[in-house]
Amino acid sequence: MTATLNTPSCHGDTARRRRTSSSPTIALIGPPNVGKTTLFNAISGARAAVGNWPGTTIDVGRATWRVGARTVEIMDLPGAYSLDGISPDEQLTAALLLDAPLDERPAAVIVAVSAARLSTGLYLFRQLRECGVPLVVAVTMLDVATRRGARIDVELLSGLLDAEVVAVNPRTGTGIDELAAMTSRALTVEARARRPVEAADSDDADRRFDWVAEVVTAAVSRIAEQRRTRTDRLDRWVMSPIVGPLAFLAAMWLVFQATTTLAAPLQRLIGAVVSGPLTKGTTTPLTTIGLGRGWFVQFVSDGVIGGVGLLLSFVPLMALMFGLLAVLEDSGYLARAAVVADRAMRALGLPGQAFLPLIVGFGCNVPAISATRVLADSRHRVMTALLVPFTSCSARLTVYVLVASMFFPSNVGNVVFVMYIASVALVLILGVVLRRTLWRTIGQAPLMLELPPYQAPRLRLLAASTWMRLRAFLRTAGGVIIVAVAAVWLLQAIPVDGNHGFGNVPVKDSAYAATAGAVAPVFELAGFGDWHATGALAAGFVAKEAVVSSWAQTYATERPTDPHTPGQLANLVRADFTASSGGHQNAAAWAFLVFVLAYTPCAATLAAQRREIGGKLAAFGIVVQLATAWTLAVAVFQIGRWFG
């Protein structure tokens, strides 16, 4: 189903309807930061699947749920304050509830509302009730309301709303069974359209707001004077003009370190297991049955297992990233980070939360793309996901060091520093360009953000959230990564002369070299129109870690164990660059570095982009990356050669 994103309306839904499907759908909705997704995770456990709604980049969680004697599908829809949403995510929520074909609409809706901020959810409730949707209300955060001096009379609220209301605490599981029972009863209620929701009618809006105010006044009693809570006292520092940015940078530094330093040994361990016992355990039986060291065994060991190994090496990295995201979200800090970084990110038209994926990108682009999930507006997610590949990940560092050691051995550190500065500049410039061309409307929205209270993250919920996201990543990214690795292996196995057999050919005589040679002229204007360099760049499309080894492979020389000491490879590369650049090898080296910085980081990043923003936008991203990289490389070489 592809939902239309029109003004919410119940038009055309004048007939009564009853769900007859054996597995009806329940929608879980509510304003942001009321614990809706925590409630969804508590209901679904590890059974949930998250993914983009078809035809959109908007995240919708789905899971099965046992309510009474039947199993239903529950959907976690994007947070919304009303059916008159501003962002595409909010508009999707309204469209799925009101504009979808009758048999595809949810049979009942659970509206999550915060006891501390009852009014924010009741406006949405009122709009849905006007549309005749069967409703159940789940009141969250009663403990927070109590701490802030308020008490909710749930029974009275139920009477005022004329709907079943249950107090829930998704962090402890309290009230979930009762919610299931109420949802089961709601499924027996006939849904009928009473009148359309007219977003533009301000009188209607005022009438609803007045009704909400009356309900809140009646159902909420003040049991103590409003006093400063621990959250308030902490926020005073965490969001203050001086300590706030420092705390924010410290949090970002921790995330960056965790996703790079902590993940690295685990990735190495997985790599060793895959290339050692796993490869041996797979190829030995094949050899035993008589397949020897033929191409099939090589394909299995270097192509398939190599691809699986690359995919598995991302597991610790992604698990850490998703776990940290869950901690930041569940603890309530992410909302504060958005406020702290708001002004800095506003120049790019992005909210403060976008700082997180852009910082993480300097460690690895793959978890950084996934970290765009912290952004509530899908347009912000798309734009950030398109910018992340221009953040210089640690894998590119080995190429910088290698090339700098070959051409500028006494200035390696300075060259690397310049590349990182160039990366930051590239993100800023492209962000401004995208904002002024494709996303002119974003960035105008003012910051109006509800701040959830701080909470200690619950391990069970963190684990469920991490596993749900990790599983979704592996499912989507697995195919792309394995196919990319296998494709490179295949090109290197196909001989283009008559002197070698399939799978037993030097790289220079393979289809890989022939393809690189055909592409090489494209880089003549950049000074490195040579098939060895092009071949290395092609391998870098799969993973930047592969550039150094592939480059060495094209010269049939040893891969340097330390990029600072390139040895024989340096002489060979310098000779080729001197020839291809007409004697301006240093300018060509800078152009090559700039191309490495700006072109597509790796297959895993593409897979992550495809998952987060869809195939078409990921393809658009490749075009932007290649066009930017080529243009900059040519510009750097053409300008650089004037300086020698």
Binding site: Y123, G149, T231, A445, L447, L451
Partner: protein, 84 residues
């Protein structure tokens, strides 16, 4: 957002700990509605809790906290009130 409220005080100028009554914001209709959805309607009584980075404010609405940026605060006229 370059304009602020015409005459009178805006939320941006209010000192910490003050209680204010909100006037009609000078914002796009959709953003005015979003403020109302957050509980910041014309006539609402709110408490200014503290300043945030960039000159924004965190205000107490009902029993929740809402952060607003400086530009938005400048466009919300207010009348100060004595504490309850």
């Amino acid at each position: 957002m370059s304009r602020s409220t015409q005459g009178g005080q805006s939320l941006a100028e209010i000192s910490l700990g003050s209680w204010v009554i909100l006037g009609a914001p000078d914002l796009a209709a959709a953003h005015t509605r979003r403020l109302a959805e957050l509980g910041l309607r014309v006539g609402s009584r709110v408490h200014v809790l503290f300043n945030a980075v960039g000159g924004g404010k965190v205000v107490v609405v009902e029993h929740g906290r809402v952060a607003l940026d400086h530009a938005t605060c400048r466009r919300i006229p207010v009348t100060t009130q004595p504490p309850p």
